[in-house]
Amino acid sequence: MTAVANSSGPQAGALHIPAPVGLLAELTHRCPLQCPYCSNPLALERVANELPADVWVDVLKQAADLGVLQLHVSGGEPTVRRDLEEIVAGAAKAGLYTNLITAAVLLTRDRLEKLAQAGVDHVQISFQDTELTNADRIAHYERGHAKKLEAAGWVRALGLPLTVNAPIHRQNIESVPAFIELAERLGAQRLEVAHVQYYGWALKNRQALMPTRAQVLRSAEIVAKARERLKGILVIDFVVPDYYARRPKPCMGGWGRGIINVTPAGKVLPCHAAESLPGLVFENVRDRSLRDIWLSSDAFQKFRHTEWMQEPCRSCEFKEVDWGGCRCQAFAFVGDMRATDPACSKSSLHAAFADTAHGEAAGAPGPFVFRSLRASA
């Protein structure tokens, strides 16, 4: 990869700053579902602060100029915005590949057709389980599952590619084989078997969500077998939970290396959980260009590259493979944003980290704290 041309920041150029590949646009934090593992922050943004469509369209143009290829239109639930078509059309005009990430319960066939015409390239629909009652219980939304099935049918009927997104945790993990069957039956091109990542709402609900290590390993085996059987028919992505891992994940492909997240209010983050880190100031697209924020804002420079690392990261042979893992997890568990991610076996708290998961998974699951503005921090 080559660096972004004409880098304008004072520190840019000193080190090679790659151009971003993907932008996650959280258009709103409003959502009819209340999934207890939502990736939104605990402090949800209010509707009054949401960026208007014309600002989004400008941001997406800036993103494409900066090198972004893939746009992930998400939320909350992006379809609650009546101006979504305008934003999607702006993305298409900028040449971005547009992934619509939706709960799908508010979609109508007519709306979906309009969105396809506006330029949506691919639709991802989340399913909370394959069993109707449990799915609606987890989403805390009546008749949601049935609506999702209907919407998935429209996606395929309109000739759009479909991803089935299956967030996995202890209260639906036995449905992994049924999720694979569901994706096949719906004619999906892609299935995400995505173990819940424990940030934000999921961290708050960790005890009610954490599966056992044996369950995680079994889910991995099931996916491996299905991948072999469905080669060339269904692409299956598998996201592992890192509490039982030995090596940390290269979170976001490394801080400020490939992904930009823009919040409903226009704050630009290196990852969707970054606001959980204290003392970082995230600049806003209303105040500064996306290029300047990407190249030289303090928040993006803070954990970019490897200079910020402490031991054991600093001398680790994998430091440019996993980039020290996840800063938010290091802060949440170790209390130090510069610490090695506790998912790494070289972390002094690695055993305690795994024991936390073992202990919680062994106990009875507590009640869910459903995502809502009322329960918001």
Partner: protein
Amino acid sequence: MTEAPKSARLVITAGSVPYLPRHIKLKQDAARGGWTLLAPERVFTPDEIAVDVLKLCDGRRTVDVIARELSVAYNAPAEEIRGDITAMLQDLADKGVVTA
């Protein structure tokens, strides 16, 4: 056009007529140079030869015809090229970015 759900793995042969499904986009990458192949939640970076092959995957040419055209362009034996591009297209078909 609706891509029908596939019930069996697509096997690429010399007689296959490959093309990119509607939702797969081959485009130039101004920021990084070269070409990029965009798919749902995936970005592939095809090398120059792969780009030459993909540009000929137009839903009209067979793999055999593509191999013969490239054998002229590359001044290399068509059989050798056919073997290479069949393997490459099979790999891309397995990833869902090429169909036939």
